[in-house]
Symmetry: C2
Subunit: 295 residues, 2 copies
């Protein structure tokens, strides 16, 4: 084993569930001599200090990124451009910047124009998470056995890509590479629409009369509780995801809604055979998810 | 402790996930001198024999229910009327019939007119289950800590209700009582609509082109995998639920679809504040589910 850390200094912009989990991996794997974190909320910065999973906490972005070899941005995707602007003048040439956002094309469009020449941006997205948020929610095995997707634009330094790939491998992830546009379409259906449906049904229940609402909570084991877990995810993060991945989300939502209208019609007209055929089709996909060890 | 079993003979019509789990509870709790099961498929009957969780397996319904003190019907709800017809002439006066179907008003309407006078029908619904089906899927702790809802029509024998209540308590359940119509409305939103959404999104994915489908499976940890689990539930059972609870399902689906259209519009028009407010509203309900110990 190499005794010298891969990096002199790693800066984390955002150290909640994802950034905080990565910080714990970086410490466990001894990937850096120094790790510094910045969070925009003073209370969160204080909590990061108390938890002690980084060496120091910066009060602003320029201080955080000064002299960093690697900057990891884990913020709601709508803030990516502002973060890039705030750090641009303080990055050393050769620094690698990566992110963990759930939308990739919009992040690339917001970040790249703001970075100086000689700084490498490697956009990334770990397909991992829980419904919990904040620095307390992080843990060092969050990424184990999960995929991380990198979407570097054409011309990105292969060395920088290899460096970021290695971090994710040390976190226990498998790493894939695809275009940002393709990523955004696949994630719209695997993640963004499921979350939208969960937020929506929990919202529908929230507007029922109080008596029924109490009972929905009481009997939620019938299926609803899984949706409440998904719908407990961070509101600000998801607000940004839907707006920043609008095109793919609206396209997939259109398909979903057409299919739902067809199912609704089948129920109204007692189309038992049609319903059973539709419901049988879905078992096969579950089997494939289990075989892909994602269940 | 009372050494004598509560029942001489219990007959199970259907012994899959729910009936098979109850059979295991009945044996563990020594609730009957004899337990006999019937299943409509010969292969399932053979498998029940091999598993050995009942004393004997009947080849037809009349044989199963002959001399039974208690009959537990756990079949797709659309078959309830036919099962009642098949057993009616073979039931002893005083026999208690109960069921475990996920829809209650339609089952009551199908069963009661077919039962002879002197036979007590106590409709029930345990809010418990997994995505697995068949006699192998059952286990004796399935109902522990879960609710069972009884929906006896007015005039049902209180003794019969108490007897059925006791069985569910021995299974570890808490027992509630409400009208069938109310049950069907609450379950439409807590269980039937969540399942419909899961079936629907998995169906939408099943119709995507093969390359994207492979990737959806690969990256399903982003949220989709929870839906594939729900959508792996028994197609025939769910076909019947949607048709037999059509009114409540279409009513709740209408509310859901209106809300989804509003969310879609908020995404299209970049209504960040509206989205965040909506997504924040849903966290509170999750907290209530956790507090109700249903998570």
């Amino acid at each position: 084993m190499n005794k010298k850390p891969d990096f002199g200094r790693i800066a984390l912009i955002g150290a909640g569930l994802i950034g905080g989990s990565l910080a714990r991996v970086i410490r466990r794997e001894k990937l850096a001599q120094t790790v510094i974190a910045y969070s925009r909320h003073p209370a969160t910065r204080q909590r990061i200090r108390e938890l002690g999973f980084v060496d120091s906490v910066a009060e602003d972005i320029p201080t955080a990124v000064a002299n960093a070899d690697l900057v990891i941005v884990s913020v709601p995707v709508g803030a990516s451009g502002a973060v890039a602007q705030a750090m641009a003048a303080h990055l050393m040439p050769g620094t690698i910047v990566t992110d963990t956002g759930s939308v990739k094309q919009a992040v690339i469009d917001a970040v790249i124009p703001n970075l100086p020449n000689g700084v490498h941006f490697v956009p990334g997205h770990p397909i991992a998470g829980t419904e919990n948020t904040g620095p307390d929610a992080g843990f060092d095995t969050l990424f184990e056995g999960r995929w991380c997707i990198l979407t570097p634009p054409e011309g990105t330094s292969e060395n920088a890509i290899a460096t970021v790939t290695n971090i994710w491998k040390r976190a226990g992830s498998r790493v894939d590479r695809m275009s940002a546009a393709h990523h955004d379409m696949v994630l719209a259906i695997t993640s963004h629409i499921p979350h939208l449906l969960a937020f929506n049904i929990v919202g529908t229940v929230a507007e029922l009369e109080d008596q029924i609402k109490l009972e929905v909570v009481k009997y939620s084991a019938g299926g609803f509780r899984d949706f409440t877990r998904i719908a407990a995810s961070d509101p600000e993060m998801w607000r940004d995801i839907f707006i920043e991945n609008k095109d793919a989300v609206l396209e997939m939502l259109g398909r979903f809604s057409e299919d739902l209208a067809a199912l609704q019609r089948a129920i109204r007209w007692d189309d038992a055979d049609g319903l059973e055929a539709k419901f049988s089709q879905t078992r096969d996909l579950r089997q494939r998810v289990i075989e892909a060890k994602q269940a």
